[in-house]
Symmetry: C2
Subunit: 509 residues, 2 copies
């Protein structure tokens, strides 16, 4: 059929097969929250690309097929101790050793797969193949034999761009479509007919024409909130995606009563590490519906955060819940057990506020630099503590002397001269303030609607230990320990995952 | 008895007689919230001084007797159109024409009265007199005849100092005691025995020794929250103390169906004023228990705030309520109908936060300068609005395009270079953000505890139109118009008034 217009079949109603899903290893701190997800049992071809364009960041999700999980870096690294620190230790949660912006344009070497339009998968098509998992140097003919039939397996891929530099996002997608045409051995025109952009977020409206006209493909706009909830519902099915700070102090985790029974935690001290080194632990659990061997579960370092990170290896029903999506601003969405949802609240004090304030008040030029600053800071030089006012606890009210009475309350008193306060102290104070405030408003809404599970999503979180610890603490503090803050490894991609899912789960009209 | 120790009678349990109370005229924008309150019917002598030392400001309240209200500036000015703008119009709510700090040390010419210790009032005392209302130049003998007997009338006086400069506060009280000794014709030692400091706020503990040792008088410490509530209960009895933004747009107020019936509002346009000039209005109401003629009630200018200010001329029962006290930090106190209370919430994002941030981000050196900046600002240059993200309203969620999606959300996008953003725009954005956030948390607590009246107190408010309008709007927005934000002219003095009242209302132990 080559250059002739193929008769486009309407997409089948298909579902993502999440059995045995694994989160791929982290390639660099930069990609912490954009690790691929390998779906070993998913068969149906998917050729649409989802884009969620927010106020600050544009997030892209697409699917590439490959019979096996990408082998380098090893998927063992995903679960073993070598990545324990990636999620858990503060140092690598927010990289201090480099100043990379999360939203820098990814190098093209990152692009290791191609899209597979359904139209090319028709058994009648002479060109149809499942050519995926290719690196640039591989010759497609190598795979021709096995690609004639459908084969299971493929990866969800995640990319981020700055909304201000939306052109980079468009170029990335353009390149992806071109590569896919090459790999599939079809013309770019054919490829474009099989590809679709699922756009969501505020920018779906603002940049609609840009995507449509530059890429020459169909662009469909999806409601932002609906996509967020779809994304949440899907991503919480992935083992080890959801995590939270357990209530146990890490100290007690380091001396457990070890056992190897199902779902029990065995932690051990690694003597090869320095005294403040890393603890490793393993969990033996029966991964539900998974054909992959149960992986070891990582444990955090004994340094702050003081609470152990627990991953939900066996995803549990996640509704009803409150979803707190923290991007530039913050939306709070109540989700009922049946998936019905409502945006019940929000606050303008979000990631954009912290980024904006710190970009004026510190020399940092990227958000990761700001987070790195906050780790070395002492907020008590700028914040007015209860003890600064009372000279002691205000025990009658249960206010500890170390509690923050007034964020930045010491700055004006000290004369407010720029440069008198360190970027570290300023960063820590404002990170605490924004996180605490979101946690407080989240708790009040969870209480009002009687929701016990509070998911925090959005690009603000960035797996940053201090942010997660503060949000966790705020929920624990205000709920007196009755409610729990839950986090997601792909926290920033809920909307784009949801937009991607919507085309999978719903019949094409 | 002169230098001998007089037998100190224990203080009687007396109550403040608030019948006919009037709020005295404003001497300057600086003293907007520290106008005296004249109590024409109060007879009992009061010689204690109340001090509320907060994180940023120390507030002083004391009583001086005088048979008539201070005549200059005229008390007519308190109520008439000449002060309409003092409370109502944005310009004079936050003085733009001077850079005075509210907390600057008042000149001694402000001190127009003296304390009258009860011990000096004993009929047996040869020196006892009620010498008050004196200006510096008056000779006390002029008043000797009438001072032999008790006479009704006197003023509550209000002063503010920076906590960092607590020495100025101590010196002020020292001078007050010395003057009172002179005026009463007794030695300083005698005077000290009749004077007492009622201290509250965090600094009551921190500066206890300083007050006691420097002043040589008894210092009693009172619980901060109890004083706040006592102060609220008292001050809301004063006619025209409580005010709120009515729900009517000023436009509709300027064309009313005029009448002179009780409690009705008659507004009239003053043709001598420019087109954007001031509307004046009068209210005829029977001031309950007051011997003073019903005063005219002021109306705001038709410029922002767009809502009319309404003063509660007939104080109504104010409990139960939520008291939101905004100082350096914020406390939210639930007060039951019987006066029982509990601090149910708080936030560290308060006045100290705004002062601290703006002192670093703008050239302003005083809070009034910061407020003045905010009036000329346009927050949409720094805030990310819904329209900036969506290019339109997000009408499905009821989010208008002009709504703030992310405070400071444009700053990082624009490169975050200092100096690129005007102090005006920055000030307006952050004032909005802090006020909105407090309003939101206040509403959620009012809803949780089913409280319809929400009083805002504390030095943060400063009668500033934008602050009041934002808090009012936040309550109206979140409560869908079912709850109302109430404000107080002496917003910053609740704690000190309460400490003063506690010695009046309660038997000395």
């Amino acid at each position: 059929m080559a250059l002739n217009t193929p008769s486009l079949p309407s997409a089948k109603v298909i579902h993502v097969d999440t059995r045995g899903a694994i989160i791929l290893s982290e390639e660099s701190p930069e990609t912490r929250d954009s690790r691929g997800i390998y779906l070993p049992n998913h068969i149906e071809p998917v050729s649409h690309i989802a884009v969620d364009v927010g106020g600050s960041l544009a997030k892209v999700v697409y699917f590439t097929r490959s019979p096996d999980p990408p082998s380098s870096p090893s998927i063992v690294a995903t679960r073993g101790t070598s990545t324990a620190s990636d999620i858990s230790s503060p140092r690598s949660l927010s990289p201090t050793n480099d100043a990379v912006s999360c939203s820098s344009t990814p190098s093209s070497s990152k692009m290791t797969g191609a899209l597979t339009p359904l139209v090319l998968e028709q058994p009648s098509s002479p060109i149809g193949n499942g050519l995926n998992g290719l690196t640039d140097g591989l010759v497609r003919d190598t795979y021709l034999k096995r690609s004639v039939q459908h084969f299971p397996g493929g990866s969800l891929n995640f990319e981020r761009f700055e909304t201000d530099n939306i052109q980079a996002c468009v170029e990335f997608i353009q390149e992806l479509i071109q590569r896919s045409a090459q790999v599939n051995g079809v013309t770019i025109e054919e490829m474009r007919k099989g590809v679709k952009i699922m756009a969501t977020g505020g920018g779906a409206h603002k940049f609609y024409e840009l995507f449509r006209d530059t890429l020459g493909v169909e662009v469909r706009r999806e409601d932002e909130m609906e996509c967020l909830i779809e994304g949440l519902k899907f991503i919480t099915l992935i083992p080890d995606e959801v995590y939270y700070f357990s209530d146990e102090l890490i100290q007690s985790v380091s001396h457990p009563t070890s056992s190897n029974s199902n779902s029990s935690v065995a932690a051990s001290y690694d003597p090869s590490l320095p005294p403040n080194g890393r603890y490793s632990s393993t969990v033996t659990s029966s991964a539900s519906g998974s054909s992959v061997n149960p992986p070891p579960l990582e444990r955090p370092s004994p340094d702050p955060p003081k609470y152990g990170v627990t991953f939900e290896s066996n995803p549990t029903p996640q509704l009803p819940c409150l979803l707190v999506n923290i991007g530039s601003g913050v939306s709070l969405i109540k989700v009922d057990e049946d998936g019905a949802f409502e945006r019940v609240s929000g606050t303008s004090l979000g990631g954009g506020t912290l980024w904006g304030l710190l970009s004026l008040l510190t020399p940092a030029t990227t958000f990761d630099e700001m987070l790195a600053f906050s780790e070395g800071g002492d907020n008590s030089t700028v914040d007015m503590l209860v003890g600064d006012i009372y000279g002691q606890d205000y025990s009658k009210l249960g206010l500890k002397s170390t509690m923050i009475a007034s964020t930045f309350g010491k700055v004006f008193k000290k004369g407010g001269e720029k440069g008198k306060f360190s970027p570290q102290d300023i960063s820590k104070s404002l990170l605490y303030a924004v996180s605490n405030n979101i946690g407080q408003i989240a708790y009040m809404n969870a209480e009002k609607y009687n929701l016990d599970r509070i998911y925090f999503g959005g690009c603000f979180i960035r797996g940053h230990a201090a942010t997660i610890a503060t949000l966790s603490y705020a929920i624990r503090f205000w709920s007196k320990g009755t409610k729990r803050a839950l986090f997601l490894r792909h926290e920033g991609f809920l909307g784009s995952i949801g937009a991607w899912i919507r085309n999978i789960d719903y019949e094409d009209s």
